[in-house]
């Protein structure tokens, strides 16, 4: 009986650790995964049918690998939804279901947003990171809008230098700046330059966001989780 109790504690610890690793996923999905792994451990160690042996549980947990590693496999495959798009065998139209095709990571926007929200709700770095990323997206949108608006209102869309001693720039679609020394910098070049800058900024912001989320999801963002996580797991083993 005490043996069973000890095994149950081991299982609970493993699942707690797993749940911590899955915090980047929506709560309902994480809970479903934890329940499934619990069910697996019971089956694999035959806890439900026979009087349990400590060794059975230990073996089942060992086969599952560390809870942190298991969690990051889940999170990696969910956040960057691996989709098969590149074919190394056969023509590219086959790629979607070609078992030999390269697996390429593609991100679904919805999952990214959910994951980003979790990131923000769980860390201060996340909050500032997301503000920076959103600012970059916003700036990209302004550049793109200016470039697109230029043909329709050439006088008011553009990049402006307001005065010689103030190095402030005005990027706008409204009325042109009225200050004396106001000077438009790019003219029609705003169209190609604006589009390129917009594309670059949004590419950069996406790249930074993906990278930050991946790091966050792997639990490497701070000492506390990773350190205690590993410490706890050593005890389980």
């Amino acid at each position: 009986m005490s043996d069973r109790f000890a095994s149950q504690t081991k299982i609970d610890r493993y699942l707690d650790e797993l749940r911590r690793g899955l915090r980047a996923l929506p709560a309902d999905q994480a809970q479903d995964i934890v329940n499934e792994i619990r069910s697996h451990i019971y089956d694999a160690s035959r806890l439900a049918e026979e009087p349990t042996t400590d060794a059975g549980v230990a073996a089942a947990l060992k086969r599952l690998g560390s809870p942190t590693a298991l969690a990051s496999t889940y999170v990696d495959s969910t956040v960057s939804n691996s989709t098969v798009i590149d074919s190394t065998y056969g023509d590219s139209t086959n790629a979607a279901w070609n078992p030999f095709a390269k697996v390429v990571h593609r991100s679904s926007p919805l999952l990214l947003v959910r994951s980003a929200l979790r990131w923000v709700s769980l860390s201060v770095v996340g909050l500032f990171g997301l503000i920076a990323v959103l600012a970059a997206y916003g700036l990209a949108a302004v550049f793109a809008l200016c470039a697109l608006a230029k043909p329709f209102s050439p006088d008011s869309a553009g990049l402006w230098k307001i005065s010689a001693d103030h190095v402030s720039l005005q990027l706008g679609i409204g009325d042109p700046p009225t200050a004396a020394g106001a000077q438009e910098l790019l003219g029609w070049w705003i169209i190609p330059v604006g589009l390129i800058v917009a594309a670059f900024l949004s590419w950069l912001a996406t790249k930074v966001l993906l990278r930050a989320l991946r790091m966050f999801n792997r639990g490497r963002r701070g000492l506390s989780f990773g350190f205690f996580g590993r410490l706890t797991y050593e005890r389980i083993k």
Binding site: S39, D43, A48, S77, N81, F100
Partner: protein, 106 residues
């Protein structure tokens, strides 16, 4: 082994009907000597589900705890057939290429 092969194996294992994770792993090991670690299979099942190829349901079992059963969706069945067709063509053409090779080590 490419992930796609394991994906095909899982879809094929589920063709006759619903199974839970451990059953799928046992089937792969028994039928095709594919021994795949739990740490790979469960996350893959989760991904196939999020791609809409599988659906899952919790079923109360006599064992005393519920089990999560997976079923192929219509999309999953379609994907399984496509992948199987591709695989068969590939295996046949590779087989032709292998014909000249001796059956046993010289």
């Amino acid at each position: 082994m490419r992930k796609g092969c394991l994906e095909l194996a899982i879809l094929a294992a589920l063709w006759p009907g619903r199974l839970y994770g451990l059953e799928i792993m046992r089937l792969l090991a028994d039928e095709s000597a594919l021994v795949v670690p739990e740490g790979t299979v469960y996350p893959l099942l989760n991904r196939l589900k999020s791609e809409g190829l599988l659906s899952s349901e919790w079923v109360e079992a006599e064992a005393g705890h519920p089990r999560k059963y997976y079923t192929l969706t219509a999309d999953g069945r379609r994907r399984a057939v496509q992948m199987a067709r591709f695989w068969t063509t590939f295996a046949a053409s590779l087989g032709a290429l292998l014909l000249p090779l001796p059956k046993e080590e010289p």
